[in-house]
């Protein structure tokens, strides 16, 4: 959690701002309770304006929180970790990466062909392979609802290597391992194909022409990241490719290209460099050269074509929304201050210092902004994560994005921060009000 925070300066800044605002608010409430009451009374005087400002802040904070969720997630997955990070081995010069299955033998610590140079650097739980199988449940209709895209892998690597599946029920993994034709499906995918656990499905392949599968749904993957995913056992897949060779008398065109990705886990950057050097220079991979990169670097390459659009969203859209929020607050507070100029002058006559008047106006604005921002972020967090099943914006390998817990700090800091900035000039003009000038205009 702390690592995550330190890795993201914007989130860190938001947490610092939030803490500072909360502490300042508490000090203000404890040292000047009467002032706090005055702030609340002032806000209640024009409920319409307070509500409109509050709503505008909430709407805009919700938008920024959702946009920043996408950016934050992409930032986090493309940020290099310092320890326990995953490496991905793929075909060096082209995508889709299609490697011969023998490539995995040299990198599998449990295989007799495992490269001896790698001993001690990769453990049995630090290895996983993926093949991708895409098919349709109805060969006459290629609709999204009928399409099924599966990770083909050894079930025993699911808990140890798949992101966020370390807590998957071991019984489910065992069931997948024991059921040769078993498949685990994400809840949304299950609903989309209108099937339940225990039912069977027939899949006509799109990428492995002629390798059609009959699968039994043995369980459900957890909701969230794996909503749309499917995992099947590599044993059945490999058997079917062998069967194809036996029945047709020739190997399937993709037989020797069936391996798409090999995942390894290493303890630190130094080990990564060593593993990379050994694997990339090994003669065993000469027929189909491979590259070794960190998962974050690999994902970064996939996301590169989106870089321009993401840059615009990060540096134009989000700042524009923040400026827009600031203007709305500035407008509301300046109207409020102008309407209360006489009152400000009276406060000065009663002995209130200019600094106190400044605090009073800033306090009003920040209370509305901070609370609206906090409320909006909490609502966004709950709605997106629990009711909507994430922000459905498929980009690269991410079907949906979930608001992190830090999102609440973003909302609070954004609401309070834009309110402070937007209300500063009006608050300054309230602070600088000249009593004689105001009373000379009073009729």
């Amino acid at each position: 959690m702390i690592d995550e925070l330190l890795a993201n300066p914007v989130t860190l800044l938001c947490v610092v701002i939030s803490l500072a605002v909360v502490v300042a608010g508490l000090v203000f409430a404890v040292t000047s309770p009467r002032m706090l009451l005055l702030v609340i009374k002032n806000l209640r005087r024009n409920l319409g304006r307070t509500t409109i400002t509050c709503l505008a802040t909430m709407v805009l904070v919700a938008m920024v929180t959702m946009i920043w969720t996408v950016i934050y997630t992409l930032d986090m997955v493309t940020t290099e970790k310092s320890k326990d990070f995953k490496l991905v081995v793929t075909e060096r010069w082209q995508i889709p990466s299609q490697m011969p299955p023998t490539h995995a033998d040299y990198l599998n610590p449990e295989s007799p062909k495992f490269l001896p140079e790698l001993k001690g650097m990769i453990g049995p739980n630090d290895f996983m392979t993926w093949s991708f199988y895409g098919g349709t449940l109805d060969p006459t209709k290629f609709t999204r609802e009928n399409l099924l895209f599966m990770f083909v892998m050894n079930p025993k690597h699911i808990r140890s290597m798949m992101d966020d599946l370390d807590t998957l029920d071991p019984a489910l993994v065992k069931k997948l391992g024991d059921t040769r034709t078993g498949v685990l499906l994400g809840p949304e995918r299950l609903a989309m194909i209108n099937k339940k656990v225990g039912e069977r499905i027939k899949v006509t392949s799109l990428n492995y022409k002629g390798i059609n599968l009959e699968l039994e749904i043995v369980g459900e993957l957890p909701a969230g990241r794996y909503d749309q995913s499917a995992i099947m056992s590599d044993a059945y897949f490999n058997d079917e490719l062998d069967k194809y060779a036996r029945t047709t008398g020739q190997k399937h065109p993709l037989d020797n290209k069936r391996l798409n990705l090999i995942w390894l886990r290493v303890r630190d950057r130094e080990t990564f460099s060593k593993v990379g050097e050994i694997v990339e220079n090994s003669p065993y991979f000469a027929d189909r050269p491979v590259k070794v990169e960190t998962a974050s670097s690999g994902i970064g390459t996939w996301l590169a074509p989106y870089a321009d659009i993401l840059w615009r969203v990060r540096w134009i859209v989000v700042p524009a929304i923040i400026v827009s929020m600031t203007l709305v607050v500035a407008n509301a507070i300046s109207i409020s201050v102008r309407e209360r100029m006489t009152e400000m002058a009276v406060l000065k006559v009663l002995g209130y210092r200019p600094g106190t008047i400044l605090k009073l106006v800033l306090g009003e604005s920040m209370l509305v902004g901070g609370l609206a921002g906090l409320g909006s972020a909490v609502l966004t967090y709950a709605l997106v994560n629990f009711a909507m099943g994430g922000i459905k914006f498929p980009i690269a390998f991410f079907p949906a994005f979930f608001v992190p817990a830090w999102g609440i700090a973003w909302g609070f800091a954004l609401g309070a921060g834009t309110s402070a900035v937007g209300s500063f000039l009006p608050a300054w003009s309230a602070r600088s009000v000249k009593v004689s000038e105001v009373f000379s205009k009073v009729t």
Partner: protein
Amino acid sequence: MIVLFGFLLILGAILVVVVVASVLASVFAIGVAVAPVRKVPFRYNLRNIQVRWKTSLVAALAFTIVVCLLTNLLGFVKGMDRLTEGSGVPGNVLVLADGATDEAWSNLPTSSVLQLPRDLQLLIEKNKDGEFLATQEVYVIGTHVIPNAPAGGPKRRFVQMRGLDNVRIAAELHKIELESGEWFSSSGVREIARDHNGSTVKDTALEVVLGSGLAKTFGQDVGKAALEPGDVIEMGRRYWYITGVMKPNNSAFGSEIWTKDRTVQELFGRQNSYNSYVVRTKDEATAKQASKLLKEFRSERAMNAQSELEYYSNLTRTNQQFYIAFMVIAVVVAIGGVLGVMNTMFAAINQRKKDIGVLRILGYRRWQILASILFESLVIALVGGILGLILGYLITDGVSATSIVSSGQGGGKSIVFRAVVDATVLLTGLLFTFVMGAVGGLIPSLSAMRLKPLESLK
């Protein structure tokens, strides 16, 4: 979930009613403003805007930001749309392997038009030399190690490479012309002299033609505006000699490298296989007819034929995804702007209660007050909105960017495109401005209309 859906449905319905009512009321207000009927003088509204210039300016600025943002975002989607639409040539038929939804996943054997039945051959056009306008294309996505990659950024990029059996026919088929240089030779290789540790050594380079967008991307790697014919790049342990650069023609091919089919097949292990066949027919109707016949034709491998226009229009799924996301952002930000103008107008009415009372006593009717206030709100919105459109046009139109277009079923093409702010984008921005001004002004105008003359004069 059902409760949320119900809530959103009700909210949506209320919003639609408010928007429709606001637009109707605004049309009415504009009608009153231009019609020769008795109305509150427009000078009165102008004077009020002038008196409250600071809050009016801030409200207008909020509109400027929203509309500028919308113009910017829609300009990018429009650019992507133009590029995908421009990539398909009417009359062209694209043939992929059966089941393949994208070129990258397709695998076809070597073939020839002459293997097709006679009735199909008759549908295929010929060039002036009597050759069939048909090509076999091998398409791969290679990885390019970025020279001088900035720290923290990606070290590699994906590069789309198209191997062609006859580049001149392919260029004619895809309507691609060269901006500079020449097409690669029939051998596809040439000898180059390159620098190696200070001395010049001879090497063999593979000849390529670069798309204009890609020439710029590669050029930026080495500090040039764009690569030119004669430049050499290193990719996949081989040297690639650029013989020509394509003319920008707003198509996905501008983001590709074209080379000899053999080169791609040998380097990427695709011996004797292609990803697609493209043939030219007389027109779009004939293309559809030919697609149908090709699907029915039983060759060595079943084929998925479709008109090229159809194929590229399916690739706009990503564009639609961005379009929806950008519109959602724009609408939500607009709600913020609307609430801002609402605040301004409510404050204006609060300040002018007595004025409104006097106007009512002078005989102005409620609807005339409503029209006047609503018109004032529209003026503020339009001033801000038009400024936003101008600003959005200036910072968006013609700006180069990269993205991916895909059908959403795997694959896709990485593209370099130019953002386009055309009349549709400007009109959408203007419509947005009008609706925002109308919605922001309606409720304050209604409250002004309801003021009782004597009470407001107290």
